[in-house]
């Protein structure tokens, strides 16, 4: 039935689509149908930021974004579905989750419901909920995110005890029509999916969402979706819709308004965009193209480069491996490593692409003190950020990089760090490694200061 409907829509003129989409925006509850034929299948995966032309047939990208209030669809999504996507974007904006959060939310909703607000015939009360846009049946799942009353997604009831089967779950849901209606409210469904910032005084139903998933910003969107939804990884197909989600977010992010949370949250607000808690982390699933949460593109790229080097390093040792950082020199290479990382981020610490390598901790600090490409901040009175270079020890014996900060705990990655067979002093640099570890409190860890790109 849906395919016939979509085929019919393909014959509606483009100008009419504008009109209908505008009506849809003004009267969100009205039944109006339109369809955009814009096809963005060639847009690469690794970009976060896409803008498209409504009804365009040739060049697929512009820099202007969509007209304010006019949602932009992509092939196979109805205006109602795109309107639901805008709701997800609006909640993501309110919760300060950035485009990555919206992409994960929309990816999930596409897989779960094709972005339709589904009632469940096995939960009869759901069929009476105004605004239902279709039906689907799986346990007691309802709504765009296919959330379940029985498993505790509603703030109005606690969920069915134990681990009930389909019949028990459906019976439980049917006994709680208000909870069913809540899960079929698109804005609430999005809010529940996104969860709440750690530390906020949120009800249980809002404390198991994306924001409560440690490290979600760095996860593949499909993996994050699997985790939040508690889906079986062997059958979940969230990965099939990530591109669609990126396209929808890219084309509608600028124009979609933030939407107030149906269930207001209390507690600390997020301090950095895209992080959802007091942490500062970097999402490395795509190349950074814009400042996120106060972290410049340079910082984001540097952190991601360091992370990739750590992932690829394993247990390797020797100049054959660290030589790419030291330009072939068999030397102590901690400063070489961070110099190379910043070169890959297109921001040589020296300000000079040809002479990019600093092999000395002391010189790195003095570079910061010169206030040119890099800048010096003593630990006292400074709150580090991802991308900062850490001058370790009162004798400046080592340098590595902050890649994450949560409260006063920092995560660092560095080169020429102790490996399993590294003993002082004779095993440096030949048995040292690239490694990453956390420091419980940067203020009391013999850190003299930070050399930063801004």
């Amino acid at each position: 039935m849906k395919s016939h409907f979509i085929a019919a829509l393909k014959h509606i003129p483009c100008g009419l689509i504008y009109l209908l989409l505008a009506m849809l925006t003004i009267l969100p509850t009205a039944k109006s149908y339109a369809y955009s034929t814009d096809d963005f299948a060639t847009i690469p995966n690794q970009s976060w930021w896409y803008n498209g032309q409504l009804c365009g047939t040739g060049s697929s990208t512009t820099t202007g974004g969509s007209p304010i209030g006019v949602p932009i669809g992509i092939t196979n999504y109805t205006p109602e579905e795109i309107a639901n996507a805008l709701t997800i974007i609006g909640i993501a904006k309110t919760e300060n989750l950035g485009q990555q959060g919206a992409i994960i939310g929309i990816d999930t909703a596409i897989d779960e419901s094709h972005l339709e607000n589904l009632a469940n015939p096995a939960v009869p009360v759901s069929l009476n909920v105004p605004g239902k846009q279709g039906t689907g049946q799986d346990f007691d799942s309802v709504g765009i995110m296919q959330q379940r009353v029985a498993s505790g997604w509603s703030t109005l009831v606690g969920g069915a005890p134990g681990n009930p089967g389909p019949a028990e779950s459906q019976a439980y849901a049917n006994q709680h029509p208000d909870a069913v209606a809540q899960l079929m409210t698109q804005a609430y469904a999005a809010e529940a999916f996104f969860g709440s910032p750690p530390g906020s005084n949120a009800p249980h139903a809002l404390s198991k969402g994306l924001q409560n998933l440690s490290g979600w910003q760095g996860m593949d969107p499909a993996v994050a979706a699997i985790k939040v939804q508690g889906a079986d990884p062997s059958v979940a197909r969230y990965g099939d819709y990530v591109d669609d989600a990126r396209n929808i977010v890219g084309k509608n992010w600028d124009s979609a308004p933030a939407i107030p949370l149906p269930v207001p949250l209390s507690g600390p607000a997020p301090t950095t965009s895209g992080c959802g808690d007091s942490a500062a982390t970097v999402n490395c699933t795509a190349d950074a193209t814009t400042t996120v949460g106060g972290l410049s593109v340079v910082r984001q790229n540097a952190v991601c480069v360091a992370g990739r080097e750590l992932s690829n390093w394993g247990t390797k040792t020797g100049v054959a491996n660290f030589g790419k950082y030291s330009q072939g020199n068999d030397e102590l290479w901690c400063a070489d490593f961070v110099s190379w990382v910043y070169l890959q981020a297109n921001y040589p610490v020296t300000g000079n692409t040809k002479n990019w390598r600093i092999n000395n901790v002391t010189v790195m600090r003095q570079l910061g003190q010169k206030n040119q490409a890099m800048h010096w901040h003593p630990t006292s009175g400074y709150k580090p950020k991802p991308g900062d270079l850490v001058i370790n020890g009162y004798d400046e014996h080592h340098i590595n990089m902050v890649v994450k900060i949560v409260g006063n705990k920092i995560s660092v990655i560095g080169g020429d760090q102790p490996g399993p067979e590294t003993h002082y002093p004779s095993d440096y640099p030949d048995k040292s490694v690239v490694s990453g570890y956390d420091i419980s409190d940067y203020r009391y860890a013999n850190i003299e200061g930070f050399v930063t790109p801004d």
């Binding site: 198991k208 102590l332 901690c334 760090q417 990453g436 570890y437």
Partner: protein, 225 residues
């Protein structure tokens, strides 16, 4: 005329002899022979200061001090006292270095010898080659021993259900490595939370064991979200 020449010659002989005697007396006396670098050229990043003495030293009774304190460690080598400095020192600040007591192998001693220096703010490139080399060779090697644990190259480790990472806490010799395990339960797992947590804990210990390491030797701090 001849008498004047003779007089001058005698005076010359007396002077040379006197100087020679003084020199002999001085060399026989246990004394500070000099500093390297000279106290006038100490920089904020000077990594060590060597005090040359006139006689081989013994560690017995050796006691030194500096105000403000910039002494990291010290040792003797033949006639030299090598003081490793905590750098960078403060520029334009007068450091007062006191040898409270030092003894030569011969038994001679020096008490309460004092010297001062004011570090200069110099770029690395302007330091003597020896100091540059010493600064470079000092880096990296003084990292916490706790980071040499074999688990370090296998962390951080992420799965859908948990993140396992190495956590360094404490200061100086008290720095220790513990493991942080953050378990994140999904809605579906909340219905049987205890069982889900137990399964993730087992996965974590299995991961550590997979490298031939004994999980019981690690302090693992679990948090469940």
């Amino acid at each position: 005329m001849k008498s004047k020449v003779r007089l001058l010659a005698v005076l010359g002989v007396i002077m040379v002899g006197g100087l020679s005697i003084l020199s002999t007396i001085r060399s026989a006396r246990f004394h500070v022979a000099g500093f390297d670098p000279s106290l006038k050229t100490v920089a904020t990043f000077t990594p060590s200061l060597t005090v040359h003495f006139s006689k081989p030293l013994t560690k017995n009774g050796l006691e030194i001090a500096m105000s403000p304190n910039a002494i990291k460690s010290y040792d003797i080598s033949g006639k030299d006292l090598v003081v490793k400095l905590t750098y960078p020192m403060q520029a334009k600040t007068k450091y007062r270095f006191t040898i409270k007591s030092v003894a030569a192998e011969s038994g001679a001693t020096i008490k309460n010898y004092t010297a001062s220096f004011t570090p200069k703010d110099m770029p690395y490139e302007s330091l003597p080659a020896g100091q540059q080399k010493e600064l470079f060779n000092n880096q990296d090697k003084d990292q916490p021993a706790a980071l040499s644990d074999p688990i370090i190259t296998h962390l951080p480790y992420h799965t859908l259900g948990f993140t396992l990472s190495a956590l360094l806490s404490g200061q100086g010799a008290n720095q220790k490595l513990t493991l942080d395990a953050e378990i994140t339960l999904s809605h579906a797992e909340m219905s049987d939370e205890a069982n889900a947590v137990a399964q993730y804990k087992q996965q974590i210990t299995d991961y550590i064991s997979s490298f031939g390491l004994d999980p019981s030797k690690y302090t693992i701090n679990y948090t469940v979200q």
